[in-house]
């Protein structure tokens, strides 16, 4: 693999105007070889549009793109590819029915023999050095289905390298990674940089940007809001640039005095860890954070409590009474609901309008003689739209057309309309921009203050520490410890999580 260290990309005065809206306004950006640039900005700030310009998917209205001294008004897809621009996406789409080597060489399989069949040995040999380079712990023959999210992320980077990438654009690469996996990824980024490959690192996780970026460029409303050089990069300065105001997760006031335990989990074991038992109680008026490494069994616990999967053993009590049959409908009717981790597959029916998503779990109350009462349905959706300030003109619009934060509010809306007693949030702000995050935290706090018991599963350390009133840490299927506010620190949480 040859790496041309002469890589030099310059965007000058890039503007992309749609009728009525300017998505990018006079954006200039200079990427040198072997440089890691953190690109930050809220959703809607113009990051995606900028990526599309670089990927050759859309043509800017004005401005020029200069690569290695060649100036063009736009890139097409082939030119972008030839220039060595590669993407590692937020939502990965590897072929998990194939092995690593097949994924990396997809469309460029190495053939051999009289029948021009795939030469597996040659493929492995071609792929192995690249896997070594990105520090992969898996081999070319491993099945992608068995890789963790972090390993898939690393595989995507390896794929970019097999394409002779000179600029790797990473869009929220760490949003589903645990801390240690994130550190591995940051290490890989440092290696890329050392070998002269530039990285454009797009993330909402500012700690990571702070750790890896040589330079930060912030976008706001389609304009470059500012640059930060290496020694200017810190959390507050980045937040200021992104939103133009101070935003502190830590500012949420804590509940005065928690009420009784509403949700009691006693000796529950799940399919992921059939031999360990979890005990945990969640009190009214309190946000209990559930921290831990990805794969510690937190999501499985939530699914078992909600009744998606039957627990292998143990009992679950709601307000002192045991939940009998394990079905979501029973949990819901008793006032327990779950905002799932996977918004797009489990939380919403994306093609359904907002109003039908909101009414779905409670149609038993929104009907007359078995027929859906559409007026009541619309009224409910409208009420939730206003109280959660879901940004849409029309509640009949498909949920698919909403941004991540608004989609999360729709999921929340469908439960809040039913006045739940316990809400389990599983990674409530994944893929949600900073502004909407703050709104969701405020909503959670308001709910807790009104007496709702909240269990928040989160892998975002800042979120766990900033939002929780109490932090339970899970490790390999059991609660390894519970921290009170005076003991809150990344160090303490991590110690319990890793063990």
């Amino acid at each position: 693999m040859t790496i041309e260290s002469s890589f030099d990309l310059q965007l000058t005065g890039i503007t992309k105007a749609y009728p009525g809206v300017v998505a990018l306004d006079d954006v200039s950006l200079h990427v040198h070889a072997g440089e890691v640039i953190g690109l930050i900005g809220e959703n809607g700030a113009g990051k995606s549009t900028l990526m599309k310009v670089l990927g050759g998917l859309i043509a800017p209205t004005k401005g020029t793109i200069t690569i290695d001294g060649v100036q063009r008004p736009r890139l097409d897809i082939q030119q972008s590819f030839d220039a060595g621009i590669s993407f590692v996406h937020q939502e990965l789409n590897p072929f998990d029915n194939l092995n690593v080597a097949a994924n990396l060489r997809l469309g460029r399989e190495i053939r051999g023999g009289p029948f021009r069949l795939i030469d597996e040995a040659a493929m492995d040999a071609a792929v192995q050095p690249i896997l070594n380079k990105v520090g992969a712990t898996f081999g070319p023959r491993d099945n992608v289905a068995n890789l963790s999210l972090a390993e898939r992320q690393i595989m995507e980077i390896a794929k970019a390298l097999t394409l002779n990438a000179r600029l790797v654009i990473m869009d929220e690469p760490t949003s589903s990674l645990t801390l240690s996996e994130t550190n591995t990824l940051l290490g890989v980024i440092a290696d890329l940089k050392a070998s002269g490959i530039s990285v454009l690192f797009i993330s909402h996780r500012l700690n990571e940007v702070e750790q890896c970026a040589d330079r930060v460029v912030a976008l706001r409303d389609g304009k470059v809001a500012g640059h930060l050089s290496r020694d200017e990069i810190n959390h507050d300065s980045m937040i200021r640039l992104m939103i133009g105001r101070e935003l502190m997760v830590q500012n949420v006031t804590r509940a005065a005095a928690p009420g009784d335990a509403v949700l009691e989990i006693e000796g529950v074991s799940t399919s992921a860890f059939p031999h360990t038992r979890t005990d945990l109680s969640v009190r009214a008026g309190e946000i209990t954070g559930l921290a831990g490494l990805v794969g510690a069994g937190r999501t499985e616990l939530a699914r078992a409590v909600f009744g998606i999967d039957a627990p292998a053993s143990g009992i679950i009590k709601l307000a002192g009474r045991q939940l009998g049959r394990h079905r979501p409908a029973d949990a819901i009717s008793r006032g327990l609901c779950l905002v799932p981790e996977d918004r797009k597959d489990a939380g919403l029916i994306l093609d359904f309008p907002i109003c039908e998503n909101i009414s779905l779990p409670d149609l038993a109350h929104l009907n007359s003689n078995g027929l859906v009462d559409e007026r009541a349905e619309l009224a409910r959706a409208e009420a939730q739209r206003q109280s959660l300030s879901i940004k849409t003109q029309n509640v009949k619009e498909a949920a698919a057309n909403m941004s991540g934060g608004n989609q999360q509010k729709i999921v929340l809306g469908k439960w809040l309309a039913m006045k739940p007693r316990v809400i389990i949030f599983d990674e409530p702000t994944r893929g949600v921009d900073v502004g909407a995050k703050a709104e969701i935290y405020r909503l959670m706090r308001d709910l807790a203050d009104s007496g709702v018991a909240i269990l928040m599963i989160s892998s975002d350390m800042e979120e766990v520490i900033g939002v929780s009133d109490r932090i339970a840490v899970m490790r390999r299927g059991e609660i390894s410890g519970i921290l009170e506010p005076s003991e809150f620190s990344e160090q303490n949480v991590l110690t319990l999580a890793v063990g």
């Binding site: 809206v21 590669s86 394409l163 409908a329 779950l338 029916i349 149609l363 941004s403």
Partner: protein, 328 residues
């Protein structure tokens, strides 16, 4: 639209198309085929499929005729028994699909083979039918009679279609069917008992098929179990697909199925009336379905593009979230 075009072309070429006898005949066939097409629609909306419809029509047909003709069972009782058998088969399909986690295609493909085989064995491959001179005037009037020249099958179809429309498009159960078809996982997370909803869809399908089987038995009056109802499941699927149902589930309307059935029957009629060799029958139908679905899909894409470009103007970032995939 397509129906009007096809209809008027046929009428122009061969005026017999509009003769009362031809119309009544076509209406009768529309009614007969419509009943099980609606049945099929209920499972297709859940992203399932029922391939056993034709075989079930044959099996239930011979059972019904045998009960009435040879065993001397009073016809209302025979009718109820037939419907019950249908419902049991539907429940069995649903059970295998939701509890045993088999694929609908496989389950009902086995049904297709099994029911056909059993039907042939049951009659020892002989034709089951009404012997000459035997008559059940009430039953005949009810299922193959006419009122003011309108065949009762089409009336039954109209009633079933109306009920099906309310169930699918207005009821809570219908909403659950669409939800399960579109995204079973999210439906489960919303507290919907998805297994029950899917099982009910198969029960409705097989029950309605049993109902249709009785109409067919009385229409043909003799059933040769090797060929009776052959390919009917495909007519049903074709009608549903023409009516805008997606085999991926969660889409479609009863109005669409009704129009699909009408179109298919007019096409059949056209093949007969225009003197097109009847061996070409399937080829004509296949072509029209292909063209129809293709046109529908192209139109939908066109609308989608227009909608996308319209909302693009409002929120360029949010609607175009599928970030570039180019360099891969």
């Amino acid at each position: 639209m397509l129906i009007l075009v096809v209809g008027s072309v046929v009428a122009l070429i061969n005026p017999r198309f509009l003769s009362p006898i031809n119309i009544a005949n076509t209406l009768n066939l529309i009614g007969l085929f419509g009943l099980f097409s609606i049945a099929e629609a209920f499972v297709i909306v859940t992203a399932g499929i029922d391939l056993s419809v034709g075989s079930l029509i044959a099996l239930l047909g011979v059972i019904f005729v045998d009960m009435v003709v040879n065993l001397g069972v009073p016809w209302p009782v025979a009718l109820m028994i037939t419907l019950c058998i249908g419902i049991v088969f539907g429940w069995l399909h649903g059970f295998l699909i939701t509890k045993m986690k088999l694929q609908p295609f496989v389950v009902t493909l086995c049904g297709l083979l099994i029911y056909r085989g059993v039907a042939r064995f049951y009659t020892k491959d002989a034709t089951a039918g009404f012997t000459f001179g035997m008559s059940f005037p009430d039953l005949e009037w009810l299922v193959s009679g006419r009122t003011f020249g309108i065949p009762h099958s089409i009336i039954a179809f109209a009633i079933v279609a109306a009920i099906a429309w309310v169930v699918l498009h207005r009821s809570v159960f219908g909403r659950h069917l669409f939800a399960v078809g579109k995204n079973e996982e999210a439906a489960r997370y919303s507290g919907i008992n998805t297994g029950l909803v899917i099982t009910l869809a198969y029960i409705i399908c097989a029950g309605l098929t049993a109902f249709a089987a009785i109409f067919f038995a009385m229409y043909t009056r003799s059933i040769s179990p090797a060929s009776h109802g052959n390919f009917y499941e495909l007519y049903g699927i074709a009608a549903a697909v023409l009516g805008g149902f997606s085999l991926r589930g969660g889409e479609g309307s009863i109005v669409g199925v009704v129009l699909g059935v009408i179109l298919l029957q007019i096409l059949q009629n056209l093949v007969n009336l225009l003197g097109i060799p009847s061996s070409l029958n399937f080829a004509v139908m296949g072509t029209v379905i292909l063209v129809g679905v293709l046109a529908d899909q192209q139109f939908a894409q066109y609308r989608e593009r227009r909608r996308a470009s319209k909302s693009m103007h409002v929120r360029p970032e949010e609607t175009s979230r599928s970030a570039p995939q180019s360099a891969e």
